[in-house]
């Protein structure tokens, strides 16, 4: 016979422990093998296609850089180490971590991962774990995988690593300062990830809504999304991450100090050099080739017309003529919480708008009718201009270093 539910609070809303208990009693199988409270795994449908595409491009750049760096550091050891560590992260995400107050929470493992592997290795390990969750267990969306990896693997890993380095400073590997640093790193990292997630969700209704004002994706604006996401993470999820990171660093200080030694050197345990036998052709060929980088830049340029998909106008990017155009005024009002814009062009905008006339205003040169080609041409022009600047800077740098430059 089922036991009566224990009331965990006297407020109107049940506490997290009671909610978890109700969930267990209902005996639903969570879609998520790591339990349902992993709300940072954004499912399909919460983010617009252009947001998803943007984060895939950003995440792909991060994965490429991380893979190159890790292969250079580890050569042939990279694949088994990252794979098994990703499996470890996956399993740790399933641990029910007891928290002060009698409830439990789940950690992502990003804190300990960044401390042991360094940020680049951590990006790969957490991303692989998230990909397995999305592709094999259907937890977290497929279209949102790029955003999820960016939030948890990239933002989380770099934040955890930076905070750990900052707080641990040059303290002894066995000092309590390291344990404290791990706790703070895990806590801050998971909250940074949650904040980025909340911002991604919170900008959806402003950017993507139909003509009647119906939000097409995540429905809550920033002032609702951020507190809703942060309350849970500043309390339960952040604590769970802090407990796991600090507890494991404390354990490793006594049992396996070697795993903590690499991080002070700059890139985590993964940075310790591989055995001589392991340095093979893979290590030698790990230098990034300029040809490939150019291909990536070309692919990124092809993605530039994605901006056309964005509905409405970008907030704050208004021209002086927009204030006099009725349609543009409606769009400004719609993206500004229905606050009507001033009836005339603000004097400051009017004055400054005449200082410079862009050659390709609105990414659409006047001689091109097709907006998509306009975007592509602008991308080619912009990249070409930056490449030229880089070449000039490199030439100046070389002359400077050889002492031939006279100023």
């Amino acid at each position: 016979m089922a036991q009566p539910l224990q009331r965990c609070g006297d407020g109107l809303f049940p506490s997290a422990a009671l909610a978890a208990e109700i969930w267990n009693r209902l005996a639903f199988e969570p879609a998520n093998p790591v339990e349902i409270d992993q709300i940072m795994h954004i499912p399909d449908g919460y983010l617009s296609p252009s947001t998803c595409a943007t984060f895939y491009v950003v995440a792909a750049s991060g994965w490429y850089a991380a893979l190159k760096r890790i292969k250079r550091l580890l050569a042939t050891r990279a694949i088994p180490l990252i794979s098994v560590f990703a499996a470890f992260c996956f399993v740790v995400m399933m641990f029910n971590v007891p928290l002060p107050g009698g409830t439990t929470g789940h950690a992502v493992g990003v804190g300990i991962s960044a401390i042991v592997l360094g940020p680049w290795g951590s990006i790969l390990a957490i991303s692989i774990a998230l990909a397995i969750q999305a592709l094999f267990f259907g937890d977290g969306g497929i279209t949102t995988l790029g955003a999820n990896c960016f939030n948890m693997a990239m933002v989380g890993s770099f934040t955890a690593y930076a905070v750990y380095r900052l707080v641990a400073a040059n303290s002894d590997l066995k000092s309590r300062q390291r344990v404290l640093a791990a706790a703070i790193a895990g806590y801050v990292a998971i909250n940074a990830s949650a904040l980025v997630t909340a911002v991604e969700l919170g900008i959806q209704p402003r950017l993507f809504h139909d003509s009647s004002g119906t939000p097409l994706y995540a429905p809550y604006p920033l002032h609702v999304a951020i507190p809703a996401m942060m309350i849970g993470h500043l309390t339960f999820a952040g604590l769970a991450e802090a407990v796991i990171a600090a507890g494991m660093v404390s354990y490793l200080q006594r049992a396996d100090l070697g795993l903590l030694s690499g991080v002070s050197g700059g890139s985590g345990f993964a940075a310790t050099p591989p055995p001589a036998s392991a340095t093979t052709t893979a290590g030698a060929s790990a230098e990034p080739s300029p040809g490939r980088l150019w291909w990536i830049v070309a692919c990124l340029m092809l993605f530039t017309p994605l901006g056309i998909l964005a509905a409405g106008t970008a907030w704050g990017e208004w021209s002086s003529s927009a204030f006099m155009n009725p349609h543009a005024r409606d769009q400004i009002a719609a993206t500004s919480g229905n606050h009507a814009p001033p009836s005339s062009v603000p004097a400051g905008i009017q004055r400054l708008s005449n200082i410079w006339t862009a050659p390709f205003p609105g990414y659409a040169p006047s001689f091109i009718r097709n907006q998509m080609f306009g975007y592509l041409l602008s991308a080619i022009f912009g990249v070409g201009f930056l490449a030229l600047l880089a070449l000039v800077a490199r030439a100046i740098g070389r002359k400077w270093s050889t002492g031939n430059l006279r100023l």
Binding site: N24, R25, A27, F28, E29, P30, A31, P33, E35, P43, D44, G45, Y46, P49, L67, K71, A75, T76, I79, P80, L81, S83, V84, F85, A86, A87, F88, F90, V91, V92, M94, F95, N96, P98, G102, V116, L124, I128, A129, I132, F136, G138, T143, S212, T214, P215, L216, Y217, P219, V243, I244, G247, S250, L252, A255, D256, L259, S277, A278, A282
Partner: protein
């Protein structure tokens, strides 16, 4: 662990129930993996198609769900997903338990406040409570829940109809880097080994636990277990690395690609893309 055993154990509420919850989580993950592997061998519609066609086709439908702006179009794709599940012998009961009810419970709860918080034309007002439901609020809540339900159903149908090794090979033939595919394959393999290891550690600890542990003791126990698991993982990775070296691994990853597209695969792929395009056009 059977479902009944899992449910009964969850009723033994105690302060040490975090151990049982963790063990249940492990059992659920393994059970889901077994369910997927079994369903993938059923002689269904999707199972007969080339895995690349399945992956690309389902992905096209998921993207169309995200692009659609009208609930009617998304509902039509949902029906297509259900038809695909039935034709692929994926149990609707399993889908309902694994996806529909869970999504309704999760995204439904998230969507409900949107009924009241979304500004717009009032549809219903409760003067005593100073609450009003807007047309825009209803529309956004329906859009959100339908989208998540449909995308999750499609993903689950793909997962349940395709062996993991086939998904990986399909990803490789779609030009995902070989290193990433190899890491995904190895991670998937060692996830179950580490789940088994962690399961044994928790079970042995549970069998030695008498009485109620304090909060600090419980946290220490969990983090120590995680620490031991980390040490074992690193040890395992070194063992795997040596084994790979002994088999002649030199850093280059090569994967077999023995898929051959049949005429029915071309027809199916066309059908998937046409459905996705029509849905996007209907839902624009």
């Amino acid at each position: 662990m059977s479902r009944n055993a899992t449910r009964n154990s969850s009723r033994n509420t105690s302060r040490n129930s975090f151990l049982e919850s963790t063990l249940q989580g492990f059992a659920r993950a393994v059970s889901k993996a077994l369910q997927s592997e079994q369903a993938a061998t059923q002689p269904g519609l999707l199972q007969q198609l080339d895995p690349r066609v399945r992956v690309l086709g389902i992905l096209a439908l998921v993207v169309s769900v995200i692009l659609c702006r009208r609930p009617e179009a998304i509902a039509a794709i949902f029906l297509v997903a259900v038809a695909l599940a039935v034709a692929s012998r994926v149990s609707l009961t399993s889908l309902a338990r694994r996806v529909w009810l869970v999504v309704l419970g999760f995204s439904g709860v998230i969507a409900v406040p949107a009924l009241f918080l979304t500004p717009g034309q009032p549809l219903f007002t409760a003067p005593a409570l100073h609450l009003s439901i807007s047309v825009q609020g209803v529309r956004t809540a329906v859009l959100l829940v339908l989208r998540v339900e449909t995308a999750a159903t499609l993903t689950t149908v793909l997962v349940l109809s395709t062996a993991w090794t086939h998904i990986l090979k399909a990803l490789r033939s779609l030009h995902l880097p070989a290193e990433i595919v190899t890491m995904l394959a190895m991670t998937h393999r060692y996830v179950f080994l580490l789940i088994e290891t962690a399961n044994q550690m928790f079970e042995s600890r549970q069998s030695r636990t008498v009485g109620i542990l304090s909060g600090a003791e419980r946290r220490r126990m969990t983090t120590r277990t995680a620490g031991v698991l980390l040490s074992k993982s690193i040890e395992l990775s070194q063992g795997v690395y040596l084994a790979m070296l002994s088999r002649g691994f030199r850093g280059d990853v090569r994967l077999l690609n023995d898929f051959r597209l049949q005429p029915r695969d071309y027809v199916s792929l066309t059908a998937f893309f046409l459905t996705a395009c029509v849905a996007v056009w209907m839902g624009r």
